[in-house]
Subunit: 314 residues, 4 copies
Amino acid sequence: MLGASGYAGRELCSLIQRHDGLSLAFATANSQRGETVELPRGGRVTFVGTNEVRLDAAALVFSALPHGTSAEWVARARAAGVRVVDLSADLRIGNGASDGIPYGLTELRREQIRSAECVANPGCYPTSALLALAPLFEQGLIASGAQVNISAASGVTGAGLSPRLDLLFGEVTENFRAYGVENAHRHLNEMRALTTEYGADVDLLFTPHLLPVARGILSTITVPLARPLTDLLDPWRTRYAGERFIEIEQALPELRQVTHRNVVRIAVRQVGGVRTPTIQLFSAIDNLMKGAAGQALQNANLMLGLPEATGLPA
Amino acid sequence: MLGASGYAGRELCSLIQRHDGLSLAFATANSQRGETVELPRGGRVTFVGTNEVRLDAAALVFSALPHGTSAEWVARARAAGVRVVDLSADLRIGNGASDGIPYGLTELRREQIRSAECVANPGCYPTSALLALAPLFEQGLIASGAQVNISAASGVTGAGLSPRLDLLFGEVTENFRAYGVENAHRHLNEMRALTTEYGADVDLLFTPHLLPVARGILSTITVPLARPLTDLLDPWRTRYAGERFIEIEQALPELRQVTHRNVVRIAVRQVGGVRTPTIQLFSAIDNLMKGAAGQALQNANLMLGLPEATGLPA
Amino acid sequence: MLGASGYAGRELCSLIQRHDGLSLAFATANSQRGETVELPRGGRVTFVGTNEVRLDAAALVFSALPHGTSAEWVARARAAGVRVVDLSADLRIGNGASDGIPYGLTELRREQIRSAECVANPGCYPTSALLALAPLFEQGLIASGAQVNISAASGVTGAGLSPRLDLLFGEVTENFRAYGVENAHRHLNEMRALTTEYGADVDLLFTPHLLPVARGILSTITVPLARPLTDLLDPWRTRYAGERFIEIEQALPELRQVTHRNVVRIAVRQVGGVRTPTIQLFSAIDNLMKGAAGQALQNANLMLGLPEATGLPA
Amino acid sequence: MLGASGYAGRELCSLIQRHDGLSLAFATANSQRGETVELPRGGRVTFVGTNEVRLDAAALVFSALPHGTSAEWVARARAAGVRVVDLSADLRIGNGASDGIPYGLTELRREQIRSAECVANPGCYPTSALLALAPLFEQGLIASGAQVNISAASGVTGAGLSPRLDLLFGEVTENFRAYGVENAHRHLNEMRALTTEYGADVDLLFTPHLLPVARGILSTITVPLARPLTDLLDPWRTRYAGERFIEIEQALPELRQVTHRNVVRIAVRQVGGVRTPTIQLFSAIDNLMKGAAGQALQNANLMLGLPEATGLPA
């Protein structure tokens, strides 16, 4: 694993260590070279420099290197004949080239992922929003020209393990705020690109907020519909029938129901909509699991021909 | 003060104790009759039974009795010739009779409040949303027939000081969830009623969320406009010029900037809106101050001819 | 499982559901009879009334019934020939009769537990303190007549899933306090009883504090020694060699290193002690795992002849 | 004010801005020169470089410069004939020279402070512990040769506004840990030095812990006594009679009772003590108020001949 010292990297190292069919060949982190750190769930790992490893020592390489840096290392790994799951934004739709590199929303791209040499693992916000929206896209259920409003809130690990004053406990506790149009663009591009792939004529709005919790994303999505739904949950229950990591529920989801688990939990409500039938989708994930490390491992399992759920807490 | 044992009641008792022009004649709480409790900011109060007080022992009575119970006591106080600020929903627009009882959004109804015998103090969610929306209503800036989407998140004191399992620390920490269409109705009625008074042809949507913080509400409001704004902040700066408790800011507001202060802080952003020019309003208040006790005292100051800001931390 | 609706009960139901060698025969909760609730880690359980179950439908019964109620049901289960792990205080040393009922600190009583018909599962505070102190007791290392000062802090799930005002999020967040000499007694009796069993002539002090966290106990224990230690960690490393659920570390333990894991983590520091060589022990557990449900399952595994670690996250 | 950009500095700037008898001449912060930041309670300040100010532009200078840097600037201010309250450790007893520089525990050194040119403002941990212990020291009530065990827990603002990974929200939430013997020394020296001044023959132990709260310190102090107390609270009630900022209570103190207030709250309990009569003191302060900025202003008020409580929330 390349770039393993952040929150997603450590989570993934921990999952690999407890995986029955995989073992961790190396974990690189230039800034913490030589350091041994404790992982979630009790294991440990010692970081080596990214330049020190033979990429082809592994059957598959995960990269959680920073956006902008990762693409180069992915290219090197591919040149060495190694398959790759890239957790950075570099190769995602809407952000970088993606010829033959499927967008790794597992439940939407399972077959392409299975045979891919390289997969671009989705961002955490897009994972929560797009898994909820996809059935509506696929079935043409959204009102043409509608505004689809995604109001989302994330725990602080979504911002990474970096020493920023605004992420200190003293600044985040008992606080809540919307943030960065700037930072939102990367995620919005990703979501708009998939929307375009589906040919949906919608105007996506996206507003991220920072929650005083460590992990989890809840997206509250307002969708004007082309026609009323006869059964509120049917589009999701039909589309995701048999999916192990997608939970369609009557009750509104809570973060704590999904944290530490590789699932998305979705609920639907009919709302106001005097003129246009309108619903709200509520979609909750753990940003480090289904939003990053868990989905990366889910994709790797597919690529390596292992049972898709191996090593994944659901 | 009637019904003083909840979060808003205690906050108001504390404000009154530190007010230069007022003193606390009595504080009633049938469930805690005889008990002495510590107030925020260090004072104490001993509760008496609601039946034990002479209402006309006070120049003005605050009631924070439960919704449904308060109206009767307000009527008794008025019959005794005592002026009243009612913090319950009983007499608010959209919920109960309101003949000659102004809706106490101070900055929007100042003159009516000044001469009123009784004021219906607004709910916390409506305060945060309506102070942000009012300049758009008043200036006819919202697109006709538009959906106005209010996504709001509140700290747990908004749910009151009641022994509910779902409000236990162990259930709220590291959690986040949307909640109750049921509970939303009271607030939504209140917001729709004011919208109707302004003659606005809009469809209000409202989704409350529960934050793992003690105090504060942040409303993120998406508004399709009738025409683009030339100066994003101008409608608010013009309307609220000179208002001491309304802060119009370039930066996005954070809860901690407003907690323990009787203010609303508002920011505005242009968003997507490919077809319709669309903005987002961000409005933050302390639910116990500008959202309850603080605004109640602000109204009482006006009614009693005292300087409006007396005893109010801004 | 009897009395399954509290925090420890749900944790244990969840562990049993994911256990390879056990399945959950029934889960009783009179107050929530007929309700289906979600468990930690994603499972669900439907509660039945305690009177509705045939105790001998299970090979082993766990009881997390309230203190005072549990003993009677334990007696019934034993009369029906069923083995029991009792999580209440009723049968613990220092609190109730304990003839032939071993005190279930697994690492200290493994052989008695293996063959016991009934085990009294220890309290959470005693588990954290006694596993740290036992090697000193066993090796006679504590200064005779010394005060051993246990200052401990626990997350709120230690107080149970009960609707108490003082456990509301709004009362616990950003707060910290010592509490109840009254409540401390049950735990102190338990600790003093084991101390007496070891024949140690020490005066145990115990001060519990309430932390604004959901789970975890950290005990900071000051111990005057009979003689200096040549190797600070040696007594624990020797005593607990090979123990899978006991971690002796150089670094000071943190709650998050042990939460959701069935372990105790212990570190030792030499402190002041101008006249008497004095050390501090730092002992961290998850109050719901090694402090309750995890240790209960560890004991049940032993009693049923299963590998001790089955189904236990370490 | 010199070095105003940290948590204590901002708190003090905010207090000065709302002080009736003082105004803020300048606020320096080399790292944030030119930046305007929002203060607690709603004000703002623009920082200038420390080299850019004329020290004698102020009647009194507060320094919250880093330990090691502050002493030099204090000397410059004194050379310019300006009185100083130094919030750093540089001039405190036990840490630096202190000839004619009283230790600013206001209630213990009021007369020396009143006439001092320079005051060394105490550390936050020592303030909480020493105000609780002083009556026992003064009245010779502690058993000779006893270990006095101070177990204290502090909110994260005590560690300053610095971008450390271990202070990130994601690392502190749902966590608790003891920390640094290293960091403890500065505070321990300070406490031992005062103990020595009182001629007390005791062995002070001190263990700091990091709480997942923003502000507040609770010290739990175990004290073997020379003789039993006939009235548990009498030594404190007698010594601190009439003190506005010291609250002696029957009930155990909670952090939230003292945060945002310039007070210390003390309670006392008799504990075990089979051989030696032993008590526990519980002492709570806001580390940024009575533990830093508040006490600094209290001292400045005295030095400037102003009423001691001016501008201080109690």
